[in-house]
Structures are given as C-alpha cells and as structure tokens.
C-alpha cells in the first residue's frame, strides 16, 4: 500500500515510514506565532526554564492581529513579543517595519518550503499547505513546546482526496472551490483529517487561489490542506531566497484515502456563504436574487488579501463609485502587496472609487479593529469566517465571497455579480 503526500512528509521527518493513525514526534521546520498568541507561549517557555530557542531560525513571530496597536492593552501585548524577539536576537521577527499577515508574509519571504512541517499558533496556518508542506494550527502551549524542543507530537492524519475537475468560469476562484467543498461536507466534514486537493482544475490554479483554498481547510474542521508541487509552485518559489531546500513529495497512486470527493466545477458560479457558518453556501445567482443590501464590504485577510485580489477589485471599481450607503475597506495582506498595488495604480483606482485602503493587518477579519460592524449591519467580506459577532456586533451579519464579487457589491450597494 502506498503513502499519501502527508504520510511521506511525516515519514521523512520521523526517519522511518509512518502511516495515518501513527503518533510521532518530529522536528518542525517553521513555528509561527503572532501578537495575540505568542505571549502565552513566551510565558510557558520561561516557566519551562528554557533560555534559548531550540531552533531559532525555525521560529517566527509576526505582529499582525492588533498592530499598529489598537489600544494600550494591545501595545503592552506586542511589547512582550518584541522584547522576547530582541532578547533572542530573532532573525524572523516581523514588526511594523516589515509587516504583513503571517500566512501571506512567510511564503512571500521564502520562509516556507515544500516538504516542510509547519505549525503556527493561528488556525489558518493550514494556508502554507499550498506549497506542498504539511502545515497546521495549534495553541500557544503547543507552540511553547516547539520553542523549547524544536519539535512536537502529531497524529499522522488520514486524508480526504478532493478532485476538482473542469475549467473555471470568469471570477470563480480558489475561494469558491473551498466554499463549495465546505458547503458539501460541512464545517466538521474533515475533522482531524488532511484535505489533499488535486485534479485538472488545481493544475491551472494560480498560487494566490491555491493559498485561499488551503487557507479555509480549517473551516471544514481539517487538520491541514495540501497541494503537491508543480510548475506553478516552482515558478512562485523561483524568485525566493528559500530558507530550506524544497523537498517534493507526491502521493502514490495506491495511497490509502479515507474518502475521495469529486467535484465538477465547470459550471460552478461564485459561492456566497450566508450567515453564520462558512458551510452555508449559496450560488451568486441566488444571492443576487435575494437583494442583499450591504453596509460594508471588506477585501483582505490571509484568505483574500493578495495582489490578485487587490487587482481584480481595483479593475471592477475603476471609474465607478462605491454606493452611497456602503463602505469599502481594502486591506492588502503585506507591505509588499501594498507597494506593488500602489505602483500598478490599483490603490489609486480604489481610493478614487471611494475605498479606504489600510495597512496590512488581521484587524477587521476577526472583529479586532479597522472595520468593526455596528448593530444589525450587513457585510460582504472576502475573509474566512462568518460566525456570530466575528467582525463586530453580535447582531451583525457576514456574507463570505471572493474579491470580485465583494468589489462589485461595493459599487451596487448590495450583493452583485462582477
């Protein structure tokens, strides 16, 4: 019996063949913390008596959630990470000067390589699976354990193989593929399991879309999402000074899957997840028919804050105006994306249309700051979660979509077709 790509990555790290269900302790290539989860890890690290990180180059802290500080408490919280980073002389510490949302920033910096085992104290760490790595979210204590020992324990997950086939229609993206999958299997449809994305649709999907797709694996309860390396991955990596040599693994033809799901996406429309679960997906046609007025449109986050998102949004709003009762907030995921979007004129087109373009931050996506919803307000957002109260007031409502639909909705003032 063959092995899946995930089993192969774990086998390579464990130094022996391991299979789904085995519990292994393996070294970790990159451990990621952020401003809200790392302080608890640092506390646990100190309590363990440790003085030095076991693998300093394999640890990163990205201040992205509430930075630039939204209040005194957030400033004090960030200070804990800053002081730790300076004390440890950390190479991979990303503060305001160099900021970005962790799951966009690390791949951009070449800090994730194919074949890596990556953990982060952030549930959307699964994003990095788009580079053919095993990547999963954990809590702060698990992060601390990795800081002290350089590794952690894992139960090698079973895998669900998801085969997407067919050519995508215009304005249908990786975001729509994952929303469609979650619509079909539910928010716990892949609990504890890895999602392996494959098929001819994936073969033509650009990296931005692949990151969006893997990003929301957690929204189906999955431990990880993964796409094997191909020429599109290699091209993305070519321009980077990679921290580690890529190791390409591929699932064997006779690998064992717990389930195989085939989805023909030839006729798939953009998918809109209605409140209050990412699994509550409906077609864009239905959403347009439902005449859903929106108070706020948000384009950004680790799901959809990349250059192609900003580009498509700017092209859709260019020369038009955001509806009078609607606000459009655009948050590029990294400083580099913001810089490129500025150079290419995207930022100007957005601002001219009435958008506010912010610094990179996770802020609005999790109801932290920079775009909080008022009581009973309705938003369409390119983020990953539409839970009750996620972006603000408990009575507010969030519809999730791709960036093109969000931009068109800002102009129309209601959910609209791009």
């Amino acid at each position: 019996m063959g092995l899946t790509i995930t089993e192969k990555i774990f086998s390579e790290h464990a130094g022996k063949e391991v299979k789904a269900g085995d519990i292994v302790e393996v070294p970790i290539d990159m451990v990621i913390g952020n401003d809200i989860t790392t302080p608890i890890s640092i506390r646990a690290f100190r309590e363990s008596g440790a003085k030095k990180l076991a693998n300093p180059d394999g640890f990163s802290i990205v201040l992205d959630h509430f930075i630039p500080a939204k209040d005194i408490a957030s400033a004090n919280q960030a200070k804990i990470s800053r002081e730790f980073a300076w004390e440890q002389d950390m190479k991979n510490f990303f503060d305001e000067k160099d900021m970005g949302i962790e799951h966009a920033l690390l791949p951009e910096k070449g800090l994730i390589s194919p074949g890596d085992v990556v953990i982060g104290a952030d549930s959307h760490t699964c994003t990095h699976g788009a580079l053919g790595a095993f990547a999963t979210g954990m809590g702060s204590t698990d992060l601390a354990y990795a800081m002290v020992t350089g590794g952690n324990w894992f139960k090698v997950p079973e895998t669900i193989k998801v085969i997407f086939s067919g050519k995508l229609q215009e304005h249908v993206t990786g975001k729509d593929l994952i929303l469609e999958l979650i619509r079909q299997i539910g928010v716990d449809g892949a609990l504890y399991q890895a999602l392996e994305f494959t098929g001819d649709t994936i073969a033509t999907l650009d990296m931005d879309s692949r990151f969006s797709l893997c990003n929301m694996a957690i929204e189906a309860g999955a431990k990880s999402g993964i796409i094997a390396v191909d020429d599109i991955t290699r091209e993305f990596l070519n321009s980077k000074n990679l921290a580690r040599k890529p190791k390409e693994f591929y699932s064997d033809p006779d690998a064992k899957y717990v389930q195989t799901i085939e989805i023909d996406v030839e006729n798939l429309e953009p998918v809109i997840a209605y409140p209050h679960l990412p699994s509550n997906g409906h077609s864009l046609s239905k959403a347009v028919e439902d005449q859903i007025r929106v108070d706020q449109v948000f384009i950004g986050s680790c799901t959809n804050g990349r250059l192609s998102d900003i580009e498509v949004a700017s092209k859709i709003v260019k020369g038009k105006k955001v509806a009078r009762h609607t606000r459009l907030i655009v948050t590029p995921a990294t400083q580099k994306i913001l810089e490129e979007a500025t150079e290419k004129g995207f930022v100007k087109d957005l601002i001219d249309a009435g958008a506010v373009v912010s610094n990179p931050t996770c802020g609005a996506c999790l109801g932290g700051y920079m775009g909080i919803l008022a009581d009973d307000e309705v938003a369409i957002s390119t983020t990953n979660r539409n839970f009750v109260g996620r972006m603000g007031a408990r009575s507010s409502k969030i519809y999730l979509s791709n960036s093109a639909v969000a931009a068109a909705s800002a102009i129309a003032g209601k959910i609209a077709r791009p």
């Binding site: 809200i36 363990s48 204590t141 009750v388």
Partner: protein
C-alpha cells in the same frame, strides 16, 4: 484522577472560539479578564450566571474556529469544570488538554437537560446524571493523551528536556 460535580449549561452545535471568547477581548492573556467575557456572544449573561464547578454540555464540533488557547482558558477561569460534547474541534481538543480543562466526548449529551447535576468519574469513564439517575460512558481518552496527563501535561515534558540538557 478524581470526580467532578456540577450543574449543566446547554449549548448547541458548532460553538466556535469566537463565541467562547470574542477576539475583541484578545488584547490580553490575563485569564481572569478573559473569564469575564466567556461565551458572551452565545449568551451575554453567561459569565454572570456560571458558578464554580458548572459543566457545559454542548452539541457537535465544540471549539471550532481559531486556535486561541484563550478559549479553554476563559472557560476554566470562569469556573467551568468540564465540557461534554459529541465531538470537539481538533485544535480546541489539544489546547484543552494542554491547559488542563477536562473535556469528554459523549454522543448522548442531548438527553441531558440544562440545570441537571452531573457527576463525572474520570477514572471509571462514567458520567452520572444525579438529577435523574441516568449514567453514561464517555469515549475513552486516547492512551497517548492519558499518558500526557499522567506526566503532568505537555510542558512537563519540555521542562524535563531543559533539565536534562
């Protein structure tokens, strides 16, 4: 291990970590401040009503969403002694063990009514509803996790490593 006893609070399916502790309160990791806002978006009065030792009985996929360890911390410091659900989201499951919030997988939780008194015997793996005498067996904790608990939690392994260096 010992027995846990407390009154039941019921919640539905997919109680996510934003409901357990909203991100607007994550500008601190002070456990008592987090506890003041526990379950706020699921039941705004919960933090005021919950008493030390109380037990949450919820629907499937409890703790879904973010990896914030603040969620089990808020529950624990609000006095919640255990959470019972048919299934738990993976990261929450692991976090709860790591920070010492007992959680139990039980399919028949929907039979248990709010306000019932439960007694959980962690050694025998049983849950007794003291209000009506019914008893249940919770799904055994995986052996690996049991060993982890016996050893005093994940960070005790880390301490051992540091001391042996």
């Amino acid at each position: 291990m010992s027995k846990l006893e407390g009154a039941v609070w019921k919640f539905g399916d997919n109680i996510d970590t934003d409901l357990i502790i909203a991100a607007r309160y994550l500008n601190t990791s002070d456990p008592y401040k987090l506890a003041e806002h526990v379950m706020e978006d699921a039941d705004p009065e919960f933090a005021g009503k919950v008493k030390k030792g109380d037990i949450i009985v919820a629907g499937k996929n409890f703790g879904s969403g973010s990896s914030r360890e603040h969620a089990p911390i808020a529950l624990k410091y609000a006095g919640v002694s255990a959470v019972i659900a048919p299934t738990f989201a993976r990261i929450f499951y692991r976090n709860s063990f790591n920070m010492g919030l007992p959680i139990f997988e039980l399919e028949e939780g929907d039979e248990i009514e709010e306000g019932s008194k439960l007694s959980i015997d962690m050694d025998s793996g049983s849950i007794e509803n003291l209000s009506n005498g019914k008893s249940y067996k919770f799904k055994p904790i995986p052996e690996f996790m049991q060993n982890l608990i016996t050893a005093g939690g994940l960070m005790s392994y880390a301490k051992e490593r540091v001391e042996n260096e």
